[in-house]
């Protein structure tokens, strides 16, 4: 090897002997040339495709402007959290869809996390039956397509519910029927604002006291029961104010059974229910495995050490296991949340008015399939990025703060 120094490519080792190297062997020059060529090819291909797109669009009479966004839509998404009439614009229709997507995502993520936590812990249970039930659940939901699950939940479960007249009556004036789930609609009574303020004060006080306790703990000083005080304020203050206001701060509008339908109250459509429940059941199976993996990854020595220094079981879990498990759990959990948001686009199959479903109607009416799709994809991009940013902030909070 040492006998052949003349063959070794000097250029590869960098610039110190730069003067003697011809330019076509200089890595710095080569790097620039490679990048220019690469960029040129990418731009050429994109340009060719774009050119075809423009010429083909023109021959088919598809305009490339976005003026249709301000036109009257003339249709009404099946459900909406903001007021909407057919006279509103396409842009507002898409906004309605986006808000529905956000609502399904938030409710779905909440349900999936709670269920995933329960199933994940059940997978660690020493009870054989509990363990195997959780395992069966995970395997069934992970190994079948989400779309099939959604169709079953919608067509076989929610649409097969009894009719309105035979609605299943649940406690607290709640009804479950083919037309969806009805519950009393809470409305703030005239004096209710005071109660809402007390809730906000309680929450703020809770978090500041909890934070203070954490600070004292870190500094090695006693917490003086600050955590107990915080919890007591969180529960006690709103309760106290609730009973001080005559008639209670909230007025409930109960659903009434009419001749053909339940009216009033808060209604969740079967489409919304099927989509959130379906997404939650599917995602929970994955979250359960993540949580199980995270808890199992905390080494046994940590547990033994924690017990040795005299921590109680609850403290072992809260102070030793969870902080370490969370570090492992958060990143994959984030990608499951993102998957849930993206999977909510399957609403199309069961007719829930999410952004993708609304965009299909818009694109059929305007004849602008590509432009509408680009807008929808951009919205998903922004929602995904937003979720990632939030979860990354949380992730940074739970990671080890090295001193």
């Amino acid at each position: 090897m040492a006998d052949e120094p003349s063959d070794a490519p000097k250029g590869a080792s960098g610039g110190s002997t730069g003067a003697s190297i011809p330019f076509y062997r200089d890595v710095r020059v080569l790097a620039v040339i490679t990048q220019i060529v690469f960029l040129a090819i990418v731009l050429l291909v994109l340009g060719w495709l774009l050119n075809n797109l423009i010429t083909n669009s023109e021959t088919r009479g598809i305009s490339t402007s976005l003026t249709w966004l301000d036109q009257r839509a003339g249709f009404e998404p099946a459900e909406s959290v903001i007021p909407y009439t057919p006279d509103d614009t396409y842009a507002r229709a898409l906004l309605v869809g986006l808000l529905n997507t956000v609502m399904v995502s938030i409710v779905g993520i909440f349900l999936a996390t709670v269920l995933g936590l329960i199933v994940g812990v059940a997978r660690l249970s020493s009870n054989w039956l509990v363990n195997k039930i959780a395992l069966t659940y995970v395997e069934i939901f992970r190994n079948t397509p989400l779309l099939v699950q959604l169709l079953v939940i919608y067509f076989v479960v929610f649409l097969q519910m009894p009719g309105v007249r035979d609605a299943i009556v649940l406690p607290l004036e709640m009804y479950l029927s083919q037309r969806g789930f009805y519950m009393p609609r809470p409305e703030v009574a005239p004096d209710g604002a005071i109660w809402l303020v007390s809730v906000i004060i309680a929450v703020v006080a809770f978090f500041s006291l909890w934070y203070l306790a954490g600070r004292r703990e870190d500094e090695g000083r006693p917490t003086m029961g600050l955590r107990w005080i915080a919890s007591a304020i969180l529960i006690g203050l709103p309760l106290l104010v609730w009973f001080l206001i005559p008639g209670g701060p909230l007025a409930f509008e109960n659903p009434e059974l009419g001749t053909f339908n339940l009216s009033g109250g808060l209604r969740f459509t079967p489409e919304f229910l099927a989509l959130t429940v379906g997404l939650a059941l599917f995602t929970a199976a994955f979250i359960a495995e993540i949580i199980r993996g995270g808890i199992q990854a905390v080494s046994k020595g940590q547990l033994e050490a924690a017990r040795t220094i005299g921590l109680k079981e609850g403290e072992v879990l809260r102070l030793v296991v969870l902080p370490q498990a969370l570090r492992i759990i958060i990143p994959p959990l984030t990608s499951q949340y993102l998957n849930l948001i993206k999977n909510s686009s399957l609403a199309l199959a069961i007719g829930y008015a999410d952004i993708f479903n609304v965009s299909r109607t818009v694109s059929e009416q305007t004849g602008q399939p590509v432009a509408v799709l680009v807008i929808v994809m951009a919205v998903y991009l922004i929602v995904s990025l937003g979720t990632s940013v939030l979860m990354n902030i949380y992730n940074r909070m739970v990671q080890i703060h090295e001193r």
Binding site: P9, A31, N127, N143, T144, V148, V152, V370, L373
Partner: protein, 411 residues
């Protein structure tokens, strides 16, 4: 073990060997430890046990007494191959037999447990299909063809165990099988003995498999290129690759499928028309390439820098280092992750039904549209779900085993 008697006679006899308490060993011990270890656990076990028994009893009763399985058996042909012409169906069976031979050959020659597991699964799968076809009255010939295919897997596996085939030949065999499969299924042209079968009339399980296998195979080269690009030292290459990967990963597959549906005809030059199925494969390929790229990037990052340095030290260039040193190692450790990707892709091909393809779920929906089968929704969806469960579960078990064999967890 054999000299145990002498041992016991030699040592002083214990007065009386205490047997462990009955509650610690055997069935009782198992119950005590696993179901009734505490009062709370005992109550939980009983309550859950009753619920599980009731659910299983109800389901079994429904499946045996109430369910209308004729909706499945009457439409078995549709579920399996869609509207693929009956007189050309032998081409599907022949493709499956070729696949069986190649799988058996690989399994026998390589002796890797997970590959052998796949071969056995293929055997079992074909036997199961044969039984389904027989029950559905689709003809004894098709069943026999499948039983023959199952036999081929086993025969070639045993033969190859005796006379192993070299790796190069196996790779060429897979290439030949793939090409032959495509030609057999799609046909050569109308004037030839193999008339063309338009992809528009492919359907059922056949289309599901075609979509997912074509999707993963085609996305692989693109994905590897993107992964290498993302790790490149050249900023322009890196930015372009990263942008593509992150853009695709942020949007749902269904939007990409629709985009492919509308955009492909628009961005291709006038006169070049492509089938719906091809557009779907294109969309799936562009989508899964981003995910393949992230898997491969994980593999690339796992290769220690020493490998790069050693390669440079012996005078390899950058591209030589990548192609001959880093990629082979990186790809090897990403196999399980990519099998996982294939499994989720397989399940995601059901989305193709939304853009109007008649893959297995699409066939199910089409069958349900027939008024004769009113009220058989659960039967149809359950059948589709079970098909996917069998495929996905067995593949994931094989992948789990492969992971162990590659020793990825241990490193």
């Amino acid at each position: 073990m054999s000299d145990d008697p002498q041992m016991t006679t030699g040592t002083p006899q214990p007065a009386e060997e205490l047997r462990p308490p009955a509650t610690e060993v055997g069935v009782l011990g198992w119950l005590n430890h696993n179901l009734f270890s505490s009062k709370l656990n005992g109550i939980l076990s009983i309550v859950l046990g009753v619920i599980v028994a009731l659910v299983i009893w109800g389901l079994a009763q429904w499946a045996v007494l109430d369910a209308r399985w004729d909706v499945i058996t009457d439409n078995m042909r549709l579920f399996l191959v869609g509207r693929y012409p009956p007189e050309e169906i032998w081409r599907v069976w022949l493709t499956l037999t070729l696949l069986s031979a190649t799988t058996g050959l690989s399994a026998g020659s390589s002796g890797i447990g997970s590959v052998r597991m796949l071969a056995i699964m293929l055997t079992a799968g074909q036997l199961m299909l044969a039984a389904l076809i027989l029950v559905s009255g689709l003809g004894i010939v098709a069943s026999l063809a499948l039983v023959f295919g199952a036999g081929v897997v086993y025969a070639t596996m045993l033969a190859a165990q005796r006379y192993p085939v070299r790796r190069l030949w196996i790779s060429l065999g897979w290439l030949a099988t793939t090409i032959a499969g495509v030609l057999l299924l799609a046909g050569l042209g109308d004037a030839t003995p193999l008339p063309s079968v338009s992809t528009n009339i492919w359907g059922g399980l056949l289309l599901t498999m075609v979509l997912s296998v074509a999707g993963i195979l085609l996305s692989f080269p693109l994905g590897v290129a993107l992964a290498v690009g993302r790790r490149s030292r050249l900023p322009v290459v890196r930015v372009v690759s990263t942008t593509y990967i992150e853009l695709i990963r942020a949007v749902p597959l269904i939007t990409v499928l629709f985009m492919a549906q509308f955009l492909f005809p628009l961005v291709l030059p006038e006169g070049l028309r492509i089938d719906n199925v091809i557009r779907a494969i294109g969309g799936i390929t562009l989508f899964s390439a981003a995910y393949v790229a992230e898997n491969v990037r994980g593999g690339l990052q796992a290769i220690p820098t020493g490998q790069h340095e050693a390669a440079f030290a012996i005078g390899l260039r950058t591209w030589q280092t990548t192609v001959f040193i880093v990629l082979p190692q990186a790809l090897r450790i990403t196999i399980p992750a990519n099998v996982g990707l294939f499994i989720s892709l397989l399940k995601d091909t059901t989305l193709a039904y939304i853009i109007g393809l008649l893959e297995i779920l699409g066939i199910g929906r089409a069958v349900l549209a027939n008024p004769d089968y009113l009220g058989t929704q659960f039967e149809v969806y359950l059948f589709v779900a079970v098909v996917f469960f069998v495929l996905s579960y067995t593949l994931s078990q094989a992948s789990y085993r492969l992971e162990k064999e590659l020793g990825i967890g241990e490193r």
